[in-house]
């Protein structure tokens, strides 16, 4: 029975992932901003078979909450086997281009706050010498593109930060797993026209749990995004610039 910390527990991907853990009888510590939503997610996971579910209402984007979140999350079940960082904001690239505040918010939520939490967790995992530190990045972080390079830069930075952590923790028994979902049909992407490349949160969640179980370093979910991003990364700029990607 694993002890699992979920940061951003009310996101669609986090809920779907938590359900898989609940079905296994794991214990979950959930952190999210909205008290009412968090309570209904917790009730759902209890019914679905979680051994224990604890919650903490906190704004993850606010760094001053991080010390308490990590301390409480660690103490609740006396250590952790999995910490999943699953929150983020997509933002609006056009808005970001004219509003420095919006730009700062995207970078702070998706990168700065995430790095702060991961650094605190890494110290505890390192001492424990076991467990998996998991963060949800994005295929958007694989290449800067005009359509969403602010979000992409934050997620790309997160992937590099995770890579560094992986390097640091190599040999300690701690796994550091970067998840790179493609298009996911969630409230965050409400309003986008959906096509065959889109995946459900359940499918992404299954990919996340599989990646953790098999100890992957970087996992594209669904897997076909690995091939797509290889192509996009290798496009020369003179071709890329002719697209609206």
């Amino acid at each position: 029975m694993a002890r699992v910390l979920i940061l951003g527990a009310t996101s669609a991907i986090a809920q779907a992932t938590s359900r898989i853990h609940a079905g296994r009888g794991d214990s979950l510590f959930l952190v999210a901003r909205d008290r009412e939503r968090l309570a209904s997610v917790a009730a759902d996971l209890r019914v679905r078979g979680a051994m224990a579910v604890e919650t903490l209402v906190a704004d993850l984007a606010d760094d001053s909450t991080h010390e308490r979140i990590v301390a409480d999350g660690w103490r609740a079940f006396n250590g952790l086997d999995v910490a999943l960082l699953a929150y983020g904001v997509l933002g609006n690239q056009r808005e970001v281009e004219s509003s420095p505040e919006a730009l700062k918010a995207i970078l702070a939520t998706n990168f700065t706050s995430a790095a702060s939490l991961l650094m605190r967790l890494a110290a505890l995992f390192e001492r424990q010498r076991s467990g998996a530190l998991v963060a949800i990045g994005s295929v958007a972080g694989d290449r800067g593109r005009q359509s969403n390079y602010a979000y992409g830069a934050a997620k790309g930075g997160l992937a590099i930060f995770m890579e560094g952590l992986r390097h640091r923790l190599a040999g300690t028994g701690v796994r550091v797993v970067t998840i790179k979902p493609g298009f996911v049909d969630t409230p965050m992407t409400r309003g986008f026209p959906k096509g065959p490349l889109w995946a459900s949160p359940e499918r992404v969640a299954a990919g996340i749990v599989r990646a953790i179980d098999r100890g992957a370093s970087v996992a594209y979910v669904p897997g076909f995004w690995w091939a797509i991003m290889r192509v996009i990364r290798s496009l020369p700029e003179w071709i890329l610039f002719r697209t609206r990607l």
């Binding site: 759902d44 679905r48 409230p187």
Partner: protein, 438 residues
């Protein structure tokens, strides 16, 4: 506004879709000035889950479980939870929905709004009979906890209420206990409708599930078919925890219209007659209960223009003759149905004012949509059902006339006062003609 259609892909409409994940989202969506309608997974075949020009509140994201009483098998959940999800949860714990329709990719809210039935209707009645309580959110912001005991009239209007009384946000279902996820299934051929009725009479007592496929197209032996009956195994065999297949096979794209010519449909029916297994066997319950779930997007078989379903019930006494008339009408039109299904409904009363199931024989068919030709056939079939004193099933319907709707649902007058004035649907506007102008 975005283009939308339901499982039958006819008709197509433009509507304003709102995906909701939380109760707060639902309340926000209620503020829309357009006519409102809740939608689950859109597995209704016609336009009862469409709302042209209106706002459609999609509840599939509200799929959380609230409580489970493992002693009595009572599951409380949000209305967007699917039966697939309920089964995946309940089956390993030795429980199963008391009533399931032919697909498990439907929401609890949708099952309530259509008061769906299953192959065990003669034993268990409709889905609504096993709903212990539901929470209804109305456009005036009020919340109603309804059950057969509390606000019973609103409960009776909401079960089978086609989503017109407000939004069902939560429900408590009484599940049934199970020891095995496998069924003993027996399939027996019958040569004509008389054969069907004999088998039906002989099976109702000791077989929990019964259903028959019937060949409407054979030139001389129209009315022949295969009768299937099944019951869950009574002994524990460790099968409850086995994961269910997710149906990896999917129809990848629309088939061309020619794929469903009268010739291929006839050939399909002949092959079905030849190849369907006969005799007794043990098989996974999902295979018997949800045969079409094994093939994802099977509606694409009908091509881009989609298809229409026709499902009616005709009363018992002369049921055989009415069904024979329907088959004859279909056969002479040559516009064959892929899968025609016959089943007897039992005597258990349905709880909803607009519930479709009632004592008699129900007959379900589907036809590729071919414009006026199809509409004319549907009209002809509808007339037979009205003459028979039967009813048509709104969840499957895209064609019925206001007259047929009125004839099918005699308690319409009792239902109307409970409609939430902010709610409507394409179906409702179609069948509920404005008060007859003089």
């Amino acid at each position: 506004m975005a283009a939308a259609s339901s499982w039958g892909r006819y008709p197509r409409v433009d509507e304003d879709r709102r995906l909701v994940s939380w109760e707060g989202d639902v309340r926000a969506a209620l503020a829309s000035r357009r006519p409102l309608l809740a939608r689950g997974l859109g597995r209704s075949y016609g336009d009862s889950c469409l709302n042209e020009g209106g706002t459609v509140i999609e509840l599939a994201g509200m799929d959380r479980f609230l409580a489970f009483d493992a002693t009595h098998g009572l599951l409380s959940c949000e209305a967007g939870a699917s039966l697939d999800d309920v089964i995946a949860f309940a089956l390993p714990r030795g429980w199963f929905p008391a009533v399931v329709p032919g697909t498990r990719f439907v929401t609890v809210g949708g099952c309530i709004a259509n008061d769906v039935h299953g192959k065990n209707h003669h034993r268990a009645g409709t889905f609504g009979r096993h709903v212990r309580a539901l929470t209804l959110l109305r456009s005036d912001g009020t919340t109603h906890e309804c059950s057969p005991m509390a606000e019973p009239s609103l409960f009776a209007a909401t079960v089978a209420g086609l989503g017109l009384t407000g939004i069902v946000t939560r429900a408590t279902l009484a599940l049934r206990p199970l020891r095995s996820a496998r069924m003993e299934v027996e399939s027996l051929p019958f040569a004509d409708l008389d054969g069907f009725f004999e088998l039906e009479a002989a099976s109702a007592e000791s077989w929990e599930h019964t259903v028959a496929w019937v060949d409407c197209l054979h030139p001389r032996m129209a009315g022949r078919g295969i009768f299937s009956r099944a019951r869950f195994l009574e002994r524990s065999d460790g099968s409850l925890g086995e994961p269910w297949g997710r149906g990896p096979r999917t129809v990848p794209c629309d088939l061309p219209e020619a794929a469903l010519s009268p010739f291929t449909v006839k050939a399909f029916n002949a092959a079905y007659w030849k190849l369907h297994p006969r005799g007794r066997r043990i098989e996974a319950a999902e295979k018997f209960l949800f045969p079409l779930d094994a093939l994802g997007h099977w509606n694409r078989i009908y091509g881009r223009r989609g298809f229409v379903q026709f499902q009616c019930v005709v009363p018992g006494a002369r049921a055989r003759d009415w069904i024979a008339q329907l088959i004859e009408a279909i056969r002479t039109k040559g516009d064959g149905s892929f899968l025609s299904v016959l089943k007897t409904f039992g005597e258990l009363p349905s709880p909803g004012l607009l519930s479709f199931p009632r004592p008699g024989v129900t007959f379900a068919l589907d036809f590729p949509f071919r414009g006026d030709r199809t509409l004319a056939l549907m009209k002809e079939l509808e007339e037979i059902v009205i003459d028979a004193g039967g009813a048509l099933y709104p969840a499957k319907d895209a064609c019925m006339s206001p007259r047929a709707f009125g004839a099918s649902f005699t308690r319409l007058g009792e239902f109307e006062p409970w409609i939430d004035p902010a709610f409507s649907s394409s179906f409702w506007r179609r069948v509920h003609a404005a008060p007859r102008a003089a």
